[in-house]
């Protein structure tokens, strides 16, 4: 079954609520349980927050793209921005402790890693980042 859903929106926080609604609808239509649904939605929101904020630097005219698809036993969500990317290999070695209250920021990637079964960062050939979030089907009810 072809179950690809594609979404594109301007780099502004105001559209994150729409992303939350879409995640809820897509994941429940694809048969995920309620708790997996929450984790997917929270993680996709984190990825989109990073895409619009760090990637696109909230620049007018830039877009964030999100592709949802079900791949056999997995729910795969890809989030694209058009920014300059960052040194994720280094960052992933030094993810800060999320319970350290002396930092206001720096919990997004930790949360995504903890909630997803797989989190893949890629620099796109030309410009931009692609973040792939994968949730396995054993969380499906």
């Amino acid at each position: 079954m072809n179950e690809t859903i594609i979404m594109q929106f301007p780099s502004s926080y105001q559209w994150l609520n729409m992303i939350d609604l879409i995640c809820g609808e897509v994941t429940s239509e694809m048969g995920f349980s309620h708790s997996a649904l929450n984790e997917i939605s929270i993680s996709v929101i984190e990825a989109c927050t990073n895409a619009l904020e760090h990637g696109n630097k909230s620049v007018e005219g830039t877009l964030v793209s999100v592709i949802f698809h079900r791949k056999q036993d997995q729910m795969v969500v890809e989030v694209f921005d058009s920014g300059e990317g960052f040194d994720y290999e280094d960052y992933l070695q030094h993810i800060p402790d999320p319970s350290d209250i002396h930092h206001q920021r720096g919990r997004g990637i930790y949360i995504m890693k903890a909630m997803m079964d797989s989190l893949i960062f890629e620099k796109l050939p030309d410009r931009g980042m692609k973040v792939t979030l994968i949730k396995n089907v054993d969380d499906v009810e």
Binding site: Y13, Q14, L16, N17, D20, S35, N38, E39, S41, I42, I45, E46, T49, E53, P98, S99, I101, H102, H103, Q104, R105, R107, G108, Y110, I111, A114, M115
Partner: protein, 112 residues
């Protein structure tokens, strides 16, 4: 984010509705916390019943409020936390930092 402030006994309850996720929300929330501290009001309850979800940036806004209040011998406790927000608290272990309540009376009583 929409924010309404009301008082019960010696505590201030901040009713937040809508989005808490960065941008202008961070400044607004910080300003309110500073104003409350200036006025000597340091027992804060943040009522999240009107917030369906939040991102880690929104969580960071609450953390900064918490640390500011603690430094000033106050506290910031959470009321009516949604499932999604609870998941974030658990996965980050911030549930060990924030006291959470489902019942406003109990939250107010905890400051007595």
């Amino acid at each position: 984010m929409k924010l309404r402030s009301r008082e019960s006994e010696k505590t201030v309850i901040l009713d937040i509705t809508g989005k808490l996720m960065g941008g202008a929300d961070a400044d607004e929330f910080r300003d309110i916390v500073h104003k409350l501290i200036e006025d000597g009001k340091k027992n804060i309850i943040v009522n999240l019943s009107g917030v369906r979800w939040m991102n880690s940036t929104g969580m960071g806004i609450l953390i900064t409020g918490y640390t500011t209040l603690r430094r000033n011998k106050g506290d910031l406790k959470l009321l009516n936390v949604s499932n999604k927000i609870q998941s974030i608290l658990y996965v980050t272990k911030l549930n060990l930092i924030f006291e959470c309540f489902d019942d406003e009376e109990k939250a107010v009583a905890s400051y007595r």
